[in-house]
């Protein structure tokens, strides 16, 4: 094999290793890219995890939207968790209040964190919460039962074709997460 071929081999080897290295970085870059895309579009149904200010409070009474509430606990978390009402009809721009009921069935103190998810995903950015128990972790004493409020508004920019919005909460055991 001539010198030229050896040079060529080294060059191609460098190029292929560059692709392998580049793709290894790319896969980790996908994580923030995915997060950014979802923040911009709400594609994955995630809502803002902080209180949002409501400026315009004039409801659009010509339109009604059904909001459904779901509540579940993660894996084997020994809590009861359910919405006080399963669904309500709202006008876009109208501020509404509802609440969820949770009970710690164990005999020890537990800390839970509720994670919201909105379906369809495109409605997520238009579902605004001014107060929510999901903003902070919730500490429950042994056997404690508590009603937790949620104040929300579906904004008027909700795409026309969406008539039902589902808000699902999953309670996670915070302690288990840390362990």
């Amino acid at each position: 094999m001539g010198e030229e071929v050896e040079q060529g081999k080294k060059r191609t080897l460098r190029q292929t290793l560059f692709i392998v290295g580049g793709m290894s970085l790319f896969v980790f870059a996908l994580v923030p890219m995915y997060g950014l895309l979802c923040d911009l579009t709400g594609l994955n149904g995630k809502t803002r995890n902080e209180a949002q200010e409501v400026v315009d409070v004039s409801p659009d009474t010509s339109r009604t939207v059904t909001v459904e509430f779901l509540a579940s606990v993660n894996e084997s978390m020994p809590w009861d968790f359910r919405p006080v009402v399963a669904r309500m009809t709202v006008h876009p721009g109208e501020v509404k209040q509802t609440s969820f009921l949770a009970r710690n069935r164990t005999s020890t103190e537990m800390v839970g964190q509720a994670i919201p998810s909105v379906t369809p995903g495109l409605a997520a950015l238009h579902f605004k919460k001014t107060e929510c128990f999901c903003f902070t972790e919730q500490k429950f004493a042994a056997g404690e039962e508590r009603e937790m409020p949620l104040i929300f508004m579906v904004d008027k920019d909700l795409p026309e074709h969406i008539s039902t919005v589902t808000l699902a909460y999953t309670f996670f055991d915070k302690q288990k997460l840390v362990d």
């Binding site: 060529g8 290894s24 994955n44 995903g121």
Partner: protein, 524 residues
Amino acid sequence: MSTATTHDAHHEEHPSGLMRWVTTTNHKDIGTLYLLFSLLMFLVGGAMAMVIRAELFEPGLQFVEPQFFNSMTTMHALIMIFGAVMPAFVCLANWLIPMMIGAPDMALPRMNNWSFWILPFAFAILLSTLFMEGGAPAGGWTMYPPLVMQTGNAFPFLIFSVHLMGISSIMGAINVIVTIVNMRAPGMTMMKMPLFVWTWLITAYLLIATMPVLAGAVTMLLTDRFFDTSFFNAAGGGDPVMFQHIFWFFGHPEVYILILQAFGIVSQIIPTFARKPLFGYSSMVYATASIAFLSFIVWAHHMFTVGMPLTGELFFMYATMLIAVPTGVKVFNWVSTMWRGAMTFETPMLFAIGFVIMFTIGGFSGLMLAMAPVDFQYHDTYFVVAHFHYVLVTGAVFAIMGATYYWLPKWTGHMYNEKLGKLHFWLSTISVNVLFFPQHFLGLAGMPRRIPDYSVQFAGFNEISSIGGFAFGLTQLLFVYIVFKTIKGGEKATDQVWEGAHGLEWTLPSPPPYHSFSTAPEVK
């Protein structure tokens, strides 16, 4: 003359016994190792498939626990994909690429040795999980979180074995690229390369681009489980759906990694037995490249049901259907090559024609699955199982078997038993259709994948499918017998082996000398 002989004899020298195989850097030895390894894994994965079909023979739980059943489906997939089909193609690359392009060996022989010897360790790790507390991985080969997080002690072993398999394939792919780009004989221009070499070159690029993605995804699973990260954990702000996106960004090119070389093999075999040059050579090259490109922009068709906006569904649906165009070009070219050819039907040709027909059936069911609105019915049913077994068993595996019959006389210097070869083909073809065709109906009727028990209305077709499965499994023992019998002896093969065979590998003696093309041949 005498100096030439001693020179040759010197070249034949290599350590004997076990150390020859452990330390070898010879592309032919490594090709043989890959072939035997993949045959072994094919039998191990096949045995798991037999457990699956035995359990599904009738409704109810007969032989195994549901957890173990799910381990069987998961392990069967991992072993067949990474242990049987991919190493079989690397075997063919090692044996054939240097001989086809007139190179003395692969470009990076030591890395070649390493890329093979990692594999037995990777699969020893994977198979050892069968004996661990909590059982072998049972969450499906796609390793979706959060389900995969429930894997017991086997979890880190699963991740590390996937890492090792990835490293092995990346090294194999780099070797293929460096060899093809730099070591072609004078006159062997890119557009003169045999199509098998072309398809491997394109596949090798797919491999180096996607294997790091899989490695990254499983690394994130590992850190989620052990180091408190939350890439895919919703409670910590992550998103399990993101895993599906990353996984299938690797996974869809991966399915072409498992089939493009099969296209190359069939494009070598059909012209030989039709005694005509391949119809539309350059369109074959461009079609392969187009499929490779499209494979990067269709991943979400594996996850139509996760809740995508309509525009997303439409984009991935149309992009997926677009792949049927270059694939159709290929099928058209194979048929046109056979058209008015002086055809004979030796075993490799039978497998190649079987490939063209049955791969096309699998392609059509793929088109059905590509349609977003109907996919909601087919998703995760036996229809999907039928689809990918048609493209992978009657597609990839049939092409590999055809390739084995086609080149085995060249490698060993012995002809295989043609009668037994044909018997193997016909038994395989009949049983594989009895095995997988009824699964289309099961899927359309709503039978889900990955379940050990099912409701009684599915009993009839499952019974037929299982009978086909056992027959197909037994038939493969005949294949093993034929391969080993041919290695040991048989009628002497000529250099050209097949009357209509063209290409550099057929100019070498059968079997080829340990070191071939030490001086590059001139290609006109």
